[in-house]
Amino acid sequence: MQTRPLGDTGHDSSVMTFGAIALNWLEQEGANQLVEHVLDYGVNHFDVAPEYGDAELKLGPKLRQHREDIFLGCKTQERTYEGAWRKLDRSLNRLGVDSIDLYQVHGLEYDEELDAITGDDGALAAFREAKEQGLIDHIGLTSHGDPDLILDALDRIDDLETVMFPLNPVVAGKDDDEYDYEAVLARADAKNIGTLGIKAFAAGSWPPTDELPEADRPFSNWYRPVTAPDEIRERFDFAAARGLTSVISAGDPKLVTMILEAAADYDGMDEAAQRSLIERVRHDDSPVPEQLHH
């Protein structure tokens, strides 16, 4: 599988990152098998979080067995110094490892949170101490919030080495600033910060729960995913061709093999084909009446 330099970290990440939340939906034996399966394809970057049910615990055994082959990303939603230290200790315990390669501020959403994490008593102070102690190697940030907020974070956090954000043809086709994650990609590239893409496989929201109760959803993703092999492939190609360092696999284990296949076969997507995909999904969700042309 193709690898790309993850910003200035010195690590070359596989063009697909394994979203280890998928392990949460499997029994331990199945989780072990899925990790072996993902490694067989050449994936070397994993991403997990304490919020993903039992994913940290289920990743643990195979992570420890293959520790040298896996660049491990983890994250915390804590915004304070104390909270971040507590969650980092907990993740290290649950994963059963001595260190985490990339520790990320998880799900930044509000300006106040950015103030909090960068303050003297903020989470980043804990991250930096942990880095000095060798418990983490690199600092990152994840957000599916306002691109302007992420841009602010890129400017304000000097030691940020990776950023994770949504990128797919649905958001790429929208012009409003609230969807301008391409600006985040450009700024991160300019600063040589590694870029990790989420929601590459999102087709849209789930129907309201009175139409489709959560228990009746056929996939465990936060969003309604594309599920056909061809669609998975073009979504992967699109995200990888936009220039992300690595594209994170969807959270449902049923989709992982299709994404691995797409990632293994990835050999670029030209701009006309990228526009073709943007145009197609734009029409799927267009407020403009039926059209004869593009």
């Binding site: 145009e279 029409h283 039926e290």
Partner: protein, 250 residues
Amino acid sequence: MDVPRTATTALGDRSVAGKRCLEAGAGVGNATAGLLANGAERVYAVTNDRDHARTTRRRVADAGSGGNDGDDDHTGDRLAVLEADLRAIPLPDGAVDVITAHGLCNVLDPAALSAVAEEFSRVAAPDAQLVVDDYDPPPDDAAISELFAVENAASELARGRPALTFYPAAFLRRFFAGHGWEFQRERTLLEPVPWTESHVSAHAERAASMAAACSGEPGDALATTARRLKSEIGSASAGRMYGLAFRLPA
């Protein structure tokens, strides 16, 4: 207002800011949106279709009131939607600096295309730019080609002319050169062209309604075929949409 990437790509290397522009065949205002977003001083969106005129006005008005970044202020003042025949454009000689024909030529048969090109030459100011975006003929074996054939047959029966004529890029390049336009560049806007369910449905319904206007068996058969193809095709990706750019020597 979201500007389709076809329009942003077609206009990306064009100098539009502060220019007087003509969107020839406004459609739903895609190129109009792109011209306004790129700072056009004024856009004349000309269409002979009342629904298209209304849609273009509404989209631009909605965007103006939405005001997502403050740059859209007064877009309404910069747009004039004119309901008129492009073979007789209601503008004086030399009135525009930029002309866009975004997905226009395929709805013009050769006679109409010739007449419209004459008008472009008339309303263009010296050093004007011309942007022509259209589709290469779709591959013969593409399912969508069968639908277009039915649409054309229905149109010939109902109106005595085709609904769609797909001119190859090389054809329009030489055609406009023959009208004095200096060729500048060609881009591929879409490849493959995504004919979505909404496009397929719109073409099938147009074919069926033209067929229904013809009396007798051929009309009925074409209407039935159009509706059958709509459900059989669903959506299809085939062919290429290209973008040509020209300028008029000063």
